[in-house]
Structures are given as C-alpha cells and as structure tokens.
C-alpha cells in the first residue's frame, strides 16, 4: 500500500475546504486586477502586491482585506460542505436511515477532548519570535491579532528597541534606532521554508507559520523573491 501525500485520496473528490479557498482566491485576484481605482478594497492592485521588502500597504494590506472576504465565505463553505457530506448519503444510498438535518452550530463537548488538553494545545498556536542578534525569545499568539498591521505593532512593543519606519512607498520595516539596522519580519512555514511576512492572506499565514524571525535586512536579500515563489 503506497502512501498518498494527499490525506483525502477519494477517487471522486468533492471539493474540500482547501480547494474552495484556492478557487475563491483566484476569483478575488482576478477581480482586483480589473477594478484598480476604487476604494481601499480594490486599491490592492498588482503593484502593491508585488515584491518589496517589508510589508505591503500602509493602509490595510492586500492580504487583510482579501482575507475578510475569504474568511466569511470559507466558514460558510466549510459549514456547507461538511453539512453536504453528511446530507448526501440519504440521497444516494437508500439503505442509510434518515438522519437529523446537517448541524450548523457547534455543540458543547464535541469532539470529546478534555478542556485541560484543549488549553494545553492552545500554546501550539503560539509562535516563537526570534530577533537576529538578541539572546532571548518571545512568543506571540497569532490568533490574537486580526492582521499584519496589529502583529507589527505588537512586535514593536515587544522588542521595544524597534520603531516602525514608514517608507514613502508605504513599506514598513522595523528599525533599531540606535544603530539604524533594519529588520525584516520573516517566518518559517509548515514546509520549513523561510518566507517574508505579508505574502499570503492573514488566515493562511496564521495556519502555516511555525515561527517568526526578525532578520536583518542585509540578510533578507537571500530569501527568494516573491514573484519566483508564487
């Protein structure tokens, strides 16, 4: 028996949540390419999302705003798809007895995992933040922030030696005012690759980020450019 890398090797795959997410992302990016002049939402044209060192956008970045759209529809999509999966059987298999309607709300105590364990595992969502040259580590709970903006502010507060420098093209970097060294926020993702923070929609970032590292700008040039990675 060989191991399929995809955990859902169903020969007739129904679109799972991930597929839906990708679909919607493509939709969104096509849309934003077309409407480039209007509000904040569509002010996310291609130039702004193009590679620069530092976070995109002084106002709400691309990733955050797109995320707002994606997130709410993702929840619906997931709710429906899981509902659909269980609803499907009575339709196509008469031998399965009738069931209660697809559950929408979460129920108390299900799945049956002790709250002690749930709390202990929460800290798995905490990521370590390392600063090049500093001997200590901090941790942040990414789920406590709504977007890159807030994260950056939190990092600034945490490593109070930094200030956020705004560049005229609306990049932001963390700067140590004592020696002027610039730091770029990077992160290690699930696959072990080091990426620039701000590349992907916020929610995706939260799920895939394993740890954060504030890298000196001078070293960050070694990271692959965003365009190539896309």
């Amino acid at each position: 028996m060989s191991f399929p890398p995809n955990p859902n090797p169903n020969p007739n795959p129904r679109p799972n949540a991930r597929d839906i997410e990708e679909e919607r992302e493509t939709e969104m990016s096509i849309e934003t390419e077309r409407s480039s002049t209007e509000s904040e939402v569509s002010g996310l044209d291609y130039e702004e999302t193009a590679l620069t060192l530092g976070l995109p956008g002084g106002k709400r970045g691309f990733s955050e705003t797109v995320n707002l759209g994606i997130k709410s529809s993702l929840i619906e999509a997931r709710g429906d798809s899981s509902g659909d999966r269980s609803d499907e059987s009575p339709d196509c298999n008469a031998s399965v007895a009738e069931k209660p309607p697809a559950p929408k709300a979460r129920v108390v105590g299900w799945p049956p995992v002790r709250s002690y364990r749930k709390n202990a595992l929460k800290s798995c969502t905490f990521v370590k933040v390392q600063v090049d040259g500093a001997p200590y580590l901090r941790k942040v709970d990414l789920e406590a922030y709504r977007g890159y903006e807030q994260l950056l502010v939190a990092l600034q507060e945490m490593f109070s030696c930094f200030t956020i420098r705004n560049y005229p093209n609306e990049e932001r970097k963390l700067v140590d005012p004592v020696n002027g060294t610039e730091y770029v926020p990077t992160y290690e993702d699930k696959d072990g690759d080091w990426m620039l923070v701000g590349d992907v929609p916020w929610k995706m970032f939260v799920e895939s980020c394993k740890r954060l590292r504030l890298m000196k700008s001078s070293e960050a040039v070694n990271l692959a450019p965003r365009e190539a990675r896309r």
Binding site: M1, F3, P4, P7, N8, N10, A17, R18, R78, G79, S82, R85, S86, E88, S89, C92, N93, S95, V96, A97, E98, K99, P100, P103, R106, V107, V108, G109, W110, P111, P112, V113, R114, S115, Y116, R117, K118, A120, L121, S123, C124, F126, K128, P135, Y136, L137, K139, K190, G192
Partner: protein, 589 residues
C-alpha cells in the same frame, strides 16, 4: 471437626480455642492473599465469618462511584484499609456536560477518613473537587500517608500542595495529573516545593505537569538532589530545558521523565550537553512533556530511544519528519500518545518499528468538528498491520472507512479498548458513504477480549444490534450522535450482560429504550443519557421500580414541574440513597 474430636479424646489437654476464632484466624491468613477485588467481593458473600474476615483483611478499597456508599459505612466496614481509590463525577464532565457545582466534593470523605482511618497510606482521587482544607486535613491526620494521586480533580491550589509537602513525612508519591487548579492571585501563591522537609526524602514519584505556576527551581533541584529513591519526575512547562538538564544530572536513576517545555525559552543549551544527560539516564523508559518543543533538541533523546516503552508526544505538534528519526529507534515502545500532526505517514513509521505496541492514542491538534483532520483510515490500517499486539486504541480522525475498522478487528485480536472518534458528526464511510455499522460490528465480533468501546460516525440501530449480539464482555460503552430508535438502546441493554458503564449523548433513545434495562440497572455502576428523548415519566418509572437506584435529572436551569422532556439523566446504584449535597438544578426522582 476432626481436630476437636481428637483433642477431646485425649482428656487432660487444655480446651481448644473456639472453632470460630480458629476459623477467623485461618481465614484472615488465607484471605490476605486475595488481591483482586472481584474475588474479595465474592468471598465476602459466602457467609458471615467470611464477610467479617474479608472486611478485616481488605487493604485496597475501590469505590468507583463515591455516591454509591456513604464514607462512614465504607470505612467502618473496612477498618484496616491502606489504599483508597475514589471516583467522582461522570466522565462526560470532562467535556463540559456536567454543570458547575453538581457535586463530587471530597469534604465528607476527608472528614470520615481523618479520625477513623489511621492506617491509610495511599489515596487516588479521580474527578473529585478537593479543597486545600481537605488536603491539609489529610496531611495532618494520617501518620502513614505516603501516596497521593489526583487525576482530573479541581478545587485546590498551591496552599494544599504545601500542606502535603510539609506534613507528610513519609511521602513517596505525589502525582498530579490533568487537574485544574483554582485561580490564585500572585500574592496567594505558595512556594510548595520549598515546603518539603530539609532532610532526605522518600520521594519516588513527583508529577506536577498540570500545575501551571512557576516553581522555585533552586528548591526543586535541591529536592531532587536529596531524594535518592526518585524514579519518576514530571515537571511543568515552566521548567526550561537548561533546568531540565540540571535535574537529570541530579537524578540519573530516573525511569520516567516529564520534560517540561523542552524548548529554549530561557537561554541557550547545546544539544550535545542535553544528549549526554540522556546518555547517562540508563534506566529511562518513559518520556512525556515536550510542552513547548524546540525540534532541534529532539535528537538529544536518541540515547534512550531503544529502551523507551512509553512516549507521550501528545502536547506538541510534531511533524512526521521530526517523528521518524526518533520512532525508528523505538523498538520497545508499548505506549504511544501523539497528535494527528504526524499524519498517516507518521503512523506508518510507528507501525514499521513498534512491533510491541500495546496502547496508541492519536489526539487532534484542532479539536473541532470542521477541522481538516490529519489522520485517516490509512493510518489505522497501517497500525493494524504493524502492531499486532495492540490492546488499546483511541483515535481521533475525520475520514474513516468500514474496511479499515474491519481490518483492525482482524489484525488486532488482543484489543481490549477500542475508541474511535470520527469528529464530524454523523459522518459515513468516506468511500462507500454507508453507515459505520459494519466496522464496529466487526470489532465486537472479532475482538473477543473487548471490554471498552466508544463509537462514532453515522450509525444505525444495526450497529447496536451487533454490539448487543457480540459484545458479551463489554463493560464500558460510549455513544454519541448515533442510532435511530429505542431499539438501538434495547439491543445493548438486553444483550450485554457485563455492561457496567453506559454513557450516551444526543441519540434518539427514549423511555421505551430506557425501560428495557430495568432488569440490568442494578448490575451497573451508572447510566448517563443526555440530549436523548427521555421524559420525566419514563425516568420516574425507573425510579419507582428500582428503589436502590439514585435517579438524577440534571437541568441547566431550575427544573420546571411542567417540563416533561429530560435534558440529562444520571443514574447509579447506591447504598446511601439520595445524596444530601445535590444542588438546586439536580432533581432526584
């Protein structure tokens, strides 16, 4: 009796001792060899003198439901008890189904024990509310007290721990596992580790992973250094990896180690230094902890992997790449707890190496209904193929097939515990879209030693028919979101003669199903049914016909007389009658 007759025949010899007394002495001497409580229960039923002798010689008392008997009654019967195990709340309390304040307070037992049980040495409490005052009372009253194990308890804090540390001079075991401490303000926190006596201690086991408070490390290190018998040490996540290394250096004789954070929170430690600490721990057989794992430190445990019989990685999101190099060395592993982040591939690696595996638990990183779920039927099949000696499995997943469960039932005939949790409710077989009836049916059919079963996924009454027909050894059954009708419950209550613990939630079983168990309820420890289709009249019928049962109806609001539908039923046999500490939202019928 022949002996007496002979003696009488001789004439001048002194009168023989009363035959009753001889009998009692003989019995006591013989019965003290009986250790199994079921055997002892049987022996005590033979006749009065056996009952008396057994009572005098029972040292280990197990009370599976603290409300089944009054503490005074239990203690006056077993005066010489040395070890007591007491269990409180029903298991579904772990998942928030039992409202706060329901009961299971230890105070009445503490008050009965402290003056009357001078011989008590060991106490194990599970799902009981124990206060600091209770701990203090015990610590001061029991001169021989040596082992305290608290599992899933609550209600105490560092003050109670300090009382134990300070007063129990013969303390050997202090195991605090999965407890929830009371909230203490900074200034209220007590440095309990410093309260151990300054002299060398008898400590053999110290486990405080659940005490989420920083401990005084200097005191801890000194304690470990003066505890030459210490074999099991499980520290909390506030102990850094550097500190862990120091503790290991003090106690190279450890067999069980809970590693705390195992991360570089507090400074830099060279992996090599840590590795030598493990290399020196030649007796190490059990590792747990890893609460804030830094994967770069994992290789440090290589020196002990070959000897490990138990690993608990279930509090860290370890990946398959991180797991493989370790697990491939763990040829002697018998118990393995892990998160589903290792994926089917990680389980495959376990299956390839751990041929001696007896117990596997795979927990979900994201314990929600709509999570992706990272393990599936593939992982289950792999385990079943590689680990033929498997006895106990707990498996959380989102995708499962009947075929995989059937395969496990055939490959693992030694299974005693089978708990499968398909997290999405009412989820059918991922491939055939059928109910999971056949899979669970195969488990009860093929696993003749099965005593504990937890079912999930889409299930019809057919699954319960199988359980009733084949599950003749089943003692504990857990059901959620399953079945179609009363028939399901009837199959189980009529078919499973050994059934002792039945917990059911959100299943369409009503009064007719409940009443079909009337003949059996006195043989059970308890029945829990919540969000089913029971009504007040059905429950009252049971209460009326079985006066030896305590029938509790638990509501989240003050019960309204008009309200027929019952939200939560918890009933249990009891010698003590309706308990006096029931809160207003509990109605005892």
């Amino acid at each position: 009796m022949a002996e007496d007759e002979e003696e009488e025949g001789r004439g001048d010899t002194p009168p023989p001792p009363f035959s009753d007394q001889v009998l009692e002495n003989v019995l006591e001497n013989v019965l003290q060899f009986l250790s199994c409580r079921r055997d002892r229960n049987s022996a005590s039923l033979v006749c009065r003198s056996w009952y008396a002798a057994e009572s005098q010689t029972r040292h280990d008392l197990f009370v599976g439901n603290m409300y089944a008997v009054s503490p005074y009654r239990a203690i006056s019967r077993f005066r010489r008890v040395r070890a007591l195990v007491l269990k409180g709340k029903p298991r579904f309390a772990d998942f928030g189904l039992v409202p706060f304040g329901w009961g299971a307070g230890f105070a009445s037992w503490a008050n009965a024990i402290s003056p009357n049980c001078p011989s008590l040495e060991r106490l194990t409490l599970k799902r009981i509310t124990v206060s600091d005052a209770d701990l203090s009372l015990l610590a001061r009253s029991l001169p021989f007290f040596r082992d305290l194990t608290l599992l899933c308890c609550d209600g105490f804090g560092t003050l109670g721990l300090a009382a134990i540390a300070e007063n129990c001079k013969r303390l050997r075991v202090l195991d605090l596992i999965d407890n929830v401490l009371i909230d203490e303000e900074e200034e209220e926190l007590v440095d309990w580790v410093s309260r151990f006596p300054a002299s060398p201690t008898c400590l053999e086991s110290l486990a405080f992973e659940c005490i989420d408070v920083e401990v005084n490390f200097v005191a801890l290190e000194a304690l470990v250094a003066r505890s030459p018998s210490l074999r099991r040490l499980r520290v909390n996540q506030h102990v850094s990896i550097g500190q862990l290394r120091r503790l290991m250096a003090r106690a190279p004789q450890l067999t069980h180690l809970g590693t705390g954070a195992f991360g570089s929170g507090g400074g830099v430690l060279v992996v090599g230094d840590l590795e030598s600490a493990f290399a020196s721990s030649r007796s190490m057989v059990c590792l747990s902890g890893f609460r804030e794992l830094d994967p770069e430190y994992l290789p440090a445990i290589y020196p002990v992997c070959g000897n490990l019989t138990s690993i608990n990685f279930s509090y860290t999101d370890i990946s398959v790449e991180q797991l493989k190099p370790i697990i491939l060395q763990c040829h002697n592993l018998q118990t393995f707890w892990v998160l589903d982040t290792v994926r089917d591939e990680g389980l495959q690696a376990v299956a390839e190496t751990c041929k001696d595996l007896r117990e596997l638990r795979v927990f979900p990183l994201h314990p929600t209904e709509d999570s992706e779920g990272s393990v599936s039927d593939f992982g289950l099949i792999a385990i079943s193929k590689g680990c033929r000696k498997l006895e106990s499995i707990l498996y959380f997943c989102q995708r499962m097939t009947n075929a995989a469960v059937v395969t496990m039932s055939k490959n693992c005939p030694e299974l005693v515990v089978f708990r499968l949790c398909i997290m999405g409710r009412h989820r059918p077989d991922r491939i055939t879209r059928e109910a999971m009836d056949e899979g669970f049916g195969a488990i009860v059919m093929n696993c003749k030693k099965l005593t504990r079963l937890a079912v999930s996924g889409l299930l019809t009454d057919k699954a319960f028919e199988y359980i009733g027909k084949y599950g003749k050894s089943v003692r504990t059954l857990s059901v959620a979101f399953a079945g179609n009708s009363d028939l399901g419950l009837r199959y189980v209550l009529e078919g499973c003669p050994k059934l002792q613990k039945l917990e059911i939630r959100d299943s369409p079983f009503g009064d007719a199903g409940l009443l079909s168990g009337i003949h059996h309820f006195y043989n059970m420890r308890f029945l829990w049914m919540s969000s089913c289709r029971l009504t007040r009249s059905g429950c009252m019928e049971v209460a009326r016909r079985l006066p030896g049962l305590v029938v509790e109806v638990i509501g989240d609001r003050y019960l309204d007389e008009e309200n027929q539908a019952i939200e939560k039923l918890y009933m249990y046999r009891s010698l003590a009658g309706p308990r006096e500490d029931a809160p207003p939202f509990v109605k005892i019928l």
